[in-house]
């Protein structure tokens, strides 16, 4: 880890003041590289807390599915696999655009970076719109989480006769809901990073916010990668 670049840009110790620092480099770091590495490690630690947040819900899913597999199979069959698949592809594409935006900022292609960040926000918006229609289709037929569960309509009627079907939908709404909240937060943060990039705040020397936002967005994608088969397919 200790590369020569870590010690190279530290000539300020003998000079007065901080005039020779790059603007983005904060006083308590030796070098840009060290600052970047610290920020990234901090981001990974945050991502792990996010993973643990979701893993609590994955455990709930595993326990209840193991107890009532028939109810989960029946209830999950009422979800729209088509919408789920489209949303998976939308999110995977948004992961690609975020990865490309980091590639472009690393190579100082600011415009292309901004376009890819913008595409990511649009794709995330598309994901939320599809999710909105899915939720509305459920709510119209009384498929609510918890005690409000009162399914009616041809596609959902039979769920009333399945003892533990409400459990599936409670888990479905909580997991996709919290995931959706992460998507909304991601859209806001990526939008902000896109604006800052457009203003020329980032370059190949300093693009930490782009990198960290990208990591966050990939994690949101990974959560969906697991939610999709668990809720829609099996």
């Amino acid at each position: 880890m200790a590369t020569e670049t870590e010690t190279a840009p530290a000539p300020t110790t003998t000079d007065e003041g901080h005039d020779h620092h790059p603007d983005h480099l904060q006083h308590h770091f030796v070098s840009s590289q060290q600052q970047f590495d610290s920020a990234k490690l901090g981001m990974w630690l945050f991502l792990i807390t996010e993973v643990l947040l979701f893993s609590g819900m994955f455990v709930a899913y595993a326990v209840y599915r193991q107890w009532h597999p028939e109810a989960f199979v029946e209830a999950s069959a009422t979800l729209n696999t088509m919408f789920g698949t489209i949303n998976t592809i939308v999110l995977l594409t948004s992961s690609l655009t975020v990865a490309l935006s980091i590639h472009y900022i690393q190579t100082d292609q600011i415009k292309k970076c901004v376009y890819n960040l913008g595409a990511t926000v649009l794709l995330a918006g598309g994901f939320m719109v599809i999710k909105y229609f899915e939720y509305m289709a459920k709510f119209e037929h009384g498929v609510y989480p918890g005690g409000l569960f009162d399914p009616h309509g041809a596609h959902y009627e039979h769920l009333a006769q399945i003892p533990y079907a409400p459990q599936f939908f409670s888990i479905y709404f909580v997991m996709t809901g919290i995931h959706g909240a992460h998507v909304l937060i991601g859209m806001a943060v990526i939008g902000w990073v896109a604006v800052r990039a457009w203003q020329g705040a980032y370059s190949h020397e300093y693009y930490t916010p782009v990198e960290l936002t990208g990591l966050y967005w990939h994690l949101v994608d990974i959560v969906w990668i697991f939610l999709f088969p668990m809720l829609y397919l099996i």
Binding site: T5, L41, A62, L96, I102, T107, E205, F226, I234
Partner: protein
């Protein structure tokens, strides 16, 4: 500076994206194949492969500072412990409802003693039903039949 940061070539990013799309198509296609109990493991295995692609290439953990990989790996181990050990409890609840306070040796000894007692009994000690007394059947049936006939006469 940032010069030593690994820049992933666009080519790699598109290849990984292609892999992710192919795996998505496979996992959807597999739901039309009846695999029985393998449905869940196959779906989770494909999802894990997709997540690995995202983590290693899109998140560039493969080329990154190893301390980040260490952080992530420890976290994932904790998740596996969380899920597995919870299922150790919930998946086997009730299986111990018929436990005995005796040891296996005690149970086996009691069963053996009971078997020995059974072996010592002669067939005569075990007779309960009329069919167990074949030699007396003739005498009994002779006495029952007239009484049945008597009932019919009274009506």
């Amino acid at each position: 500076m940032a010069d030593d940061h690994h820049v992933l070539p666009k080519d790699t990013l598109f290849k990984v994206f292609g892999g992710l799309i192919v795996l998505t198509i496979i996992t959807v296609a597999v739901t039309y194949v009846p695999l029985g109990p393998l449905n869940v493991p196959v779906a989770i295995a494909i999802a894990t492969a997709k997540a690995a692609l995202v983590v290693l290439f899109f998140m560039a953990l493969k080329y990154d500072n190893p301390v980040n990989a260490l952080t992530f790996t420890i976290g994932i181990i904790m998740v596996v412990v969380f899920i597995t050990f919870t299922l150790f409890d919930t998946a086997f609840r009730g299986d111990l409802g018929n436990v005995s306070s005796q040891t296996v040796e005690e149970i086996e000894r009691e069963q053996k003693e009971a078997q020995e007692q059974m072996d010592q009994l002669s067939p005569e000690d075990l007779r309960v039903a009329p069919a167990d007394y074949p030699d007396q059947r003739g005498a009994e049936s002779g006495s029952v039949e007239p009484s049945g006939g008597g009932d019919e006469n009274e009506q």
